[in-house]
Symmetry: C2
Subunit: 358 residues, 2 copies
């Protein structure tokens, strides 16, 4: 098959345009409409015509122009909006989405927008301007009302936003349960003073992002054990975890365990604890959340909660394809169960620690 036309033909003064459907029609000696039918493998083409057109297509290296197509209907493009790529969760979700659409007529294009509502909004607009057929919003920071408005004009899946919706499909991990798993594990080991590193709430309350629910889950689980929650609001970053842990260590009664809402923050906390001369898990136990790749590295070996990012991406892609290919119109919600991965940063509290009371 012919490849790209040269921009400015070096030798003979050829026009060097990209072949269009008209060129193919001329080459095959048929009408433009016929070529279109063949390309779309639509109804009403004789085998003879089909092969003739196909030959012309191959000869000219014809590929349909997506923009022109989009003007008449579908762009065969799925848009994904994600915050930064440094988060392992995000990259895994994206990879899963891409591979779900691999081999279909759809292409997946990703736009990066940070954890910034305005940039995300602009990215979504950019995608809609490009007439995407479907949208996946990963951990979107914008108000849910706005997302639903978007969803009413193009099929949309919101990932990592809790709460029901009429218009928008959602995929979430059960963060409440994840937090409970972490707390139960620590309590089971004998811990009673367990601090949590959280993050400021975010855009709205009715459809919270994961971290808010994790914190709520933590609080509920603590109370269920008759323990007092101790939340330190920090940030899901190395720095945030570091600072939060220092705050915790400065408490009158130092916690014997820290449950960080994200592995990155847990790493920062680990650094702070070790800088302070304490040992993990000897003096303080540490649990993260996300199961990033790093958590499984031997020297770190962080106990954490896995939210199956890959399944999340697959579910998002599947929901979209249901809308696109099968014509589903009712909103769907998909919830995944997290699991605890016990590794090396948790152990029973040190001897001097207070025993369970009741």
């Amino acid at each position: 098959m012919a490849e790209f036309p040269e921009r400015s033909a070096a030798g003979p003064a050829r026009p060097a345009r990209r072949a269009t459907i008209k060129d193919v029609a001329a080459e095959a000696g048929v009408s433009v409409a016929a070529v279109s039918k063949v390309v779309r493998s639509a109804y009403g083409v004789s085998p003879e015509m089909k092969s003739r057109v196909q030959a012309a297509i191959d000869k000219l290296g014809y590929r349909p122009d997506v923009g022109a197509r989009a003007m008449r209907g579908h762009s065969y493009t799925i848009g994904v909006v994600a915050p930064e790529l440094s988060s392992f969760f995000v990259t895994e979700v994206i990879d899963a989405i891409v591979s779900q659409f691999e081999g279909t007529a759809y292409g997946v294009t990703v736009m990066l927008a940070g954890a910034d509502a305005d940039r995300q909004r602009r990215a979504v607009h950019g995608l809609i301007d490009r007439k995407v057929d479907g949208l996946v919003l990963v951990a979107p920071w914008t108000p849910f009302r706005w997302i639903e408005k978007v969803a009413r004009s193009v099929p949309t899946v919101a990932v990592a936003r809790h709460g029901a919706s009429q218009d928008c499909d959602t995929v979430v991990s059960d963060d409440e349960q994840g937090a409970r798993l972490a707390v139960d594990h620590l309590v089971g080991l004998g811990h009673r003073r367990i601090a949590h590193i959280g993050q400021a709430a975010g855009p709205d309350d009715s459809h919270p992002l994961s971290h808010v629910v994790r914190q709520r889950g933590y609080e509920a689980a603590m109370r269920a054990h008759g323990l007092e929650p101790d939340v330190i609001v920090g940030a899901y970053s190395d720095r945030g975890g570091y600072d939060a842990a220092r705050t915790a260590l400065a408490r009158a009664e130092t916690p014997t365990a820290i449950f960080a809402g994200a592995d990155v923050a847990a790493l920062g906390a680990l650094r702070a604890i070790e800088d302070a001369g304490a040992r993990v898990p000897g003096d303080i136990s540490l649990v993260g959340y996300d199961n990033i790749w790093l958590a499984g590295v031997k020297r770190i070996w962080l106990t954490t909660v896995d939210e199956s990012s890959q399944l999340t991406g697959e579910a998002a892609a599947r929901l979209l394809r249901e809308r696109l290919d099968e014509g589903r119109t009712r909103a769907a919600r998909h919830t995944l169960a997290p699991s605890l991965i016990v590794r090396g940063t948790t152990a029973p509290p040190p001897q001097g620690s207070r025993l369970p009371a009741d």
Copy 2:
């Protein structure tokens, strides 16, 4: 400004279409051409008309359709093709490109294709079908000839491919020098038996990918010190590094230092070494390459080579903008200098080790 139209209007039976330039023209009581001029802030609009049109645009929430625009020229879209996102280098490059185009008329769309020539080819085609104005290929695995052909039809920057080109802009880090920095550092500490974990060559030789040049640089640097190179061909992955290190440890004369061509591989090697009961850097020193975030984590604290991924991304974006905005047509090449980051995984070889000979 008005937001998205509802797909199927709930209350009054409104058409619910997205506003087009025609709607704006009607609303403002001017011609379509005039609106187009205002949108493009082209020459020949009176202030009075401009403000009238602008008001209509705001009222209707009009946004130009990118597909329709693309048919007449520019799509204002930059396409980036990258292998997987798990590599820190890649994500940093992409982030830098995105932020360079932030605030311009251009949108950046990313396509993921793995380290697989065919998938990358398909991704590039997909982007060209979408009429991108510019292309950045990050560590492309396809033959360079093919890339140059692409570059002749749309401005293209190849990142991490060495060698000169007439058609295609390139941005590379001086991998030869990077390897030399690593070897010099180890030799300076007294090491003589230094193994290298490399990766199979790839698509072509005239314009090699980084890892090939790193290996060559390692070999040259070793010879410059009068030492025999010891290359273990593995893969740039945790598993690849693990296996390669085991191979090295099985040597009759065990190396006292390992220089891995990538940090991920170094991590795998670290695991293998510690699994074998040896200590880093006590028994074996270890140097990586890439300076991924993880290398800076306290518990790892890997000595490595930084190739300034951010500057790479910025350079790529700049080269593209030179072509797009300033009309440069000659190919340009941009080379960045890597730097050594000495951390905790390198030390003088253990006592029993042979002393420098000459």
